[in-house]
Symmetry: C2
Subunit: 378 residues, 2 copies
């Protein structure tokens, strides 16, 4: 047989090492990369099933929860966001989404696709919400689901969550919290805070490669899921099916991304070995070092304390500076990645992530040293 199109020739994978200080992915510990390269096994192999159980155990530690329904969704953090909303929302359900940045807007887009009766509580980008304003909104009209972002990586603002779940529950709702850029890097105690659904991404403070989206559902959320009248709108993200594979039944749903789960297992093991408190302390120490160094460079931060994220810092681009050019030089001359602004902050800020394995003093020093040479050449 003669093929219509002949084989293209491409060189072996072209890679290079980077200091990853954007809002994710973070650098990955070599031990985690090694686990990623382990020989393939089947998705029903006893060796893999045992690893699945351990991943769930370690995820419960990371979330500080005892929720049985705690699993890594087979997609990125955004897939976990969609899983949270798709599994709770039935057509016509009232949904309240707190929007103060890019990822709040993404939640609105997703919730509408699942035909929620979606309304938003808006705050200017870079601000956070008070408990009182959310409660006033729920008093005016209850919602089945209230969704909020813990760390808005588009702005660098950290949303306080104390008392929120109890208040939402008092009005008959479920609280969904996006912890994509915070889990593992700053305190997040899912059970103690009473959060109904919380999710994250594998590639930020957990420092595993991107591709998995850990999620946990509390008892009230699990009950809502079990009592749905209509099937979940997405088959792939339907936790009623997925949980039978991760649960005792081991019923095939879809083939788990084996290597990604191997990597997540090792990444979570390293987190447990260090301990959450030590990890939180390390993240704060590195962030404070960055904040001091940035001030020394006459740069200012977008978000004031105490609402400043520890894991992603937004730095204002000074007048007359081409922000993309600075990022390009950081990448090309110093092999350091930081990110620009998203949405309405495009061109106005740099976003500097210090998450997971990237949160190390040596990386902060490298970034500050490089920035000094670019912004204030001798």
């Amino acid at each position: 047989m003669r093929l219509p199109y002949s084989a293209p020739v491409h060189p072996p994978l072209n890679t290079d090492s980077r200091i990853l200080l954007g809002p994710g992915p973070s650098n990955v510990d070599p031990r985690v990369l090694q686990a990623m390269a382990a020989s393939m096994v089947g998705h029903l192999d006893p060796l893999f099933l045992e690893t699945m159980d351990r991943i769930q155990d370690l995820l419960r530690y990371a979330f500080q929860s005892q929720n049985p329904l705690t699993i890594p969704v087979s997609g990125t953090g955004s897939a976990a966001m969609e899983t949270a909303l798709a599994n709770l929302i039935e057509p016509g359900d009232p949904v309240l989404i707190c929007v103060n940045g890019f990822f709040g807007e993404r939640m609105v887009d997703i919730a509408r696709r699942y035909q929620g009766d979606v309304r938003t509580l808006q705050r200017p980008w870079a601000e956070v919400f008070t408990l009182e304003e959310i409660e006033a909104e729920l008093k005016a009209r209850p919602a089945k689901v209230v969704a909020i972002v813990h760390g808005e990586t588009s702005t660098g603002a950290l949303q306080p969550l104390e008392g929120m779940a109890a208040m939402v529950r008092g009005h008959g709702g479920l609280l969904v919290v996006d912890a994509v850029a915070t889990l593992g890097g700053v305190p997040m105690l899912v059970d103690e805070l009473g959060i109904d659904v919380c999710y994250t991404g594998s590639q930020k403070c957990l420092s595993s490669p991107p591709g998995l989206g850990p999620i946990t559902l509390g008892p009230r959320a699990a009950e809502v899921l079990a009592g749905r009248k209509s099937p979940v709108g997405s088959w792939y993200l339907d936790l009623t099916g997925v949980q039978k594979y991760w649960g005792k039944e081991r019923t095939y749903h879809h083939t788990a991304p084996i290597s990604a789960n191997f990597a997540l297992y090792e990444a979570l093991r390293l987190l447990a070995e260090e301990g959450l408190e030590a990890s939180w302390t390390r993240h704060r120490r590195c962030a404070e070092l960055l904040w001091e160094g940035v001030a020394d460079l006459d740069l200012t931060l977008l978000i004031p304390e105490p609402y400043r994220m520890v894991t992603v810092t937004t730095v204002r681009v000074p007048d007359g500076v081409n922000e993309a050019q600075v990022r390009g030089r950081l990448r090309e001359e110093f092999k350091i990645e930081i990110a620009g602004g998203l949405g309405e902050l495009k061109g106005k800020v740099w976003r500097i992530g210090l998450m997971g394995h990237s949160a190390q003093e040596q990386n902060v020093a490298a970034l500050l040293g490089a920035l000094e040479r670019i912004l204030h050449p001798a």
Copy 2:
């Protein structure tokens, strides 16, 4: 702070090598595993963007298509199935699905969730469809989307596709073909066959780890997508968003699974290096060796030629043999994985995959030798 739950202690990743002869995942070439362990880079890093372009080029070769919209979905083969249906179907659209096994049924489930007006053409499991019966169905009532499985891994039947796309087009429909278990292992010429949408999984004949679902959309399908009146029901799988990241715009949609794409790149490069024709020949040679050997063991095959899949063979379990016990012994004593039956074939067949890097004579010899010792001990 005192944590509510203390850190669990688990041992380093417990792995072992296996000969993977189930219906996927297949064994992964060490060069591909090595690529998986490459240092992390960002999802907008020029190095990764270059790799993305090359992956698309290599995928077009694998699909034998020039479709611009050819990308790996950031999920498994089932996510690619859902992507195909979700992107084409709007609420109320007439959809015809050909069902002769487990994965045809899955398509029906998915298409209903996207509110298609779904009807099915049914064949007993293990049979295939004729062009005439599908055409008769479309004459009776046209469909916007006709979906069919090329290789039904639940039964081992291979669906002939010659003339089907033209016939479907003649009735105003789009043809969606599931090539999850066939692409790369048996001839599949997407452009020459005129297929509108075709998708596969990374972990079968392409022999990359599970977690990506390559898909290609032809010009007619891309036009239908661009002309949708309603947004795609799933945000994560919405190709109108995803294609802006894979296309020239490079607009962030979700963080691509970097390592999985690195692995896919190397796996596709190995396929291009071997050449599709050589790969097809190797798959057939191994399958024929298996078929002869199985006959020598007095076992019979479920599917007669010429509808027998080359990549997954279903073998009838002889009366009086405990099929799960045989699989357990293969796994424990010989570290060889094969699979049991799914759905209505549960307990009745073994499913033996010879796909990608697993399709090697030495693996067939190992399986036959092991089966002989288990089924006919001296």
